[in-house]
């Protein structure tokens, strides 16, 4: 099953344990994570359901280029990492 991992930086603000999901694409996997943890949504997605400007998602080691629809397909063993983007110095 795909697994979604969240940056440990989020733990300062909200619980963000890794979540196993049967989802076939990225948005559905995130929704699975939010279903048990509604407050997490606002830390990852903005008002329009897009990835926050300074949040980045890697799927199996590749940075996801789709920041709005989030329909990237996941494989059964996909590892998804939701991280904070480095900005500034």
């Amino acid at each position: 099953m795909p697994t979604v991992h969240f940056t440990p930086q989020l733990r300062r603000f909200v619980d963000a344990p890794s979540v196993q999901t049967s989802a076939g694409h990225l948005r559905a996997a995130l929704e699975d994570a939010f279903a048990g943890n509604p407050r997490l949504r606002g830390y990852v997605l903005d008002d329009q359901g897009h990835l926050r400007a300074n949040v980045v998602v890697f799927v199996d080691g590749e940075r996801s280029q789709d920041r709005q629809a989030l329909v990237q397909a996941l494989a059964p063993a996909s590892q998804v990492h939701v991280l904070q983007a480095l900005s500034g110095g």
Binding site: G42, D46, R52
Partner: protein, 358 residues
């Protein structure tokens, strides 16, 4: 005379306590996080703090015990953006102003220009659609930020449904029916950063801050990008005040709670430099409605001072005597005599975004 005040800063919320004549830091909440605005404790101890986390967005926290314990509450959220909608993205960038209105209603002014209200102290927020859907909103633009923002919220103590607000850069607006309809209230203001034929366009004015005299709410003062303005009729007409010494440019203004003729400004060198004139920090005070000013500097740094006081960095207590002033470079000063004399409270705080007594 209040013995408690709050400094919202780039690196946390600082509770300040006065013991005798001395202010000191009592408590720090949210250390390391930008706190862009606060609503000072109400009579029952409830208060709000708005955070702007660098990566994870805007958050609101509420306290029931005047800042001892906090819990995260809902944050204003913009509705789905229609396809083809022009202007800034419908995404919350910052909570820039918070005010308590009538009947327990909390108002929140935001970047990119939306006004929200909550009737349950932050559990749920509603966008004021009537203002958001104003056709003229497409003319608003950023002033200090990339997108427009509501920085001034002026409820009317004697008229519960009335609220006047200020937008950088979208002028002044007033509702008299609790937000159901809005009227422009920028007449008399002037914008020299626009083409001459649009200098008096109400939708493009950049009032840096607007404050209302609580005891005489028809009187409003405005520190505008292009000078100082005053209204004595609730914002129907603004009259420019041209007598301020040194510079009429600045960001902040405070009005005496009981004396509508008394107001304080912090002049800065316009517009490209934005530092104290001559690198000497002063406060300009009028006590006659703007006919004349005194320049007050006792206790303030008078050489190589580059502190800038932003919109919400000057606060006056309910007694009209006690003042606090905080700067972009983390200095904090207090006065107990209406600004005649100042003393340094702290010199190494994070950049100060907002000060509030209470």
């Amino acid at each position: 005379m209040s013995d408690r005040a709050w400094a919202a800063t780039r690196k946390g919320l600082f509770e300040l306590r006065r013991v005798g004549a001395l202010w000191r830091v009592e408590r720090v909440s949210f250390l390391g996080e930008p706190v862009t605005m606060l609503l000072a404790p109400q009579a029952d101890g409830r208060m709000l703090a708005a955070l702007n986390l660098g990566h994870f967005g805007v958050k609101l926290h509420a306290s029931d015990d005047a800042g001892v314990h906090w819990r995260e509450v809902s944050v204003p959220t913009y509705p789905p953006q229609p396809d083809g909608a022009t202007g800034p993205a419908w995404k919350l960038v910052q909570v820039w102003s918070l005010a308590m209105g009538a009947a327990g209603r909390v108002w929140a002014g935001t970047l990119p220009g939306g006004l929200f209200w909550s009737d349950d102290f932050g559990s749920q927020w509603s966008l004021c659609e009537a203002l958001w859907q104003q056709p003229g909103r497409s003319e608003w633009f950023g002033g200090g930020y990339d997108v427009p923002g509501i920085h001034s919220l002026c409820p009317h103590a004697q008229r519960p449904g009335t609220l006047l607000l200020g937008i950088s850069s979208g002028g002044a607006w007033e509702t008299t029916d609790d937000g159901r309809s809005w009227q422009q209230r920028s007449r008399g203001m002037r914008a020299t950063y626009m083409p001459p034929e649009r200098a008096e366009d109400p939708d493009v004015q950049d009032p840096h801050l607007i404050v209302r005299c609580p005891s005489q709410p028809a009187v409003l003062w405005c520190q505008h990008h292009n000078g100082i303005w005053r209204s004595t009729d609730g914002g129907q007409q603004w009259v420019e005040v041209t007598t301020a010494p040194l510079s009429s440019f600045g960001f902040t203004v405070a009005v005496h709670p009981q004396d509508p003729d008394c107001a304080w400004f912090v002049p800065a060198q316009a517009d490209e430099k934005r530092v104290p004139v001559g690198a000497a920090l002063v406060v300009n005070r009028t006590r006659d409605g703007g006919r004349s000013f005194e320049t007050l500097s006792s206790g303030l740094p008078q050489s190589h001072c580059y502190d800038l006081v932003y919109r919400h960095g000057l606060a006056v207590d309910a007694d009209g005597r006690q003042l606090l002033m905080g700067s972009t470079t983390g200095s904090l000063w207090a006065s107990s005599d209406g600004g005649e004399h100042w003393s340094t409270v702290a010199a190494h705080l994070p950049p100060v975004f907002a000060l509030r007594f209470g």
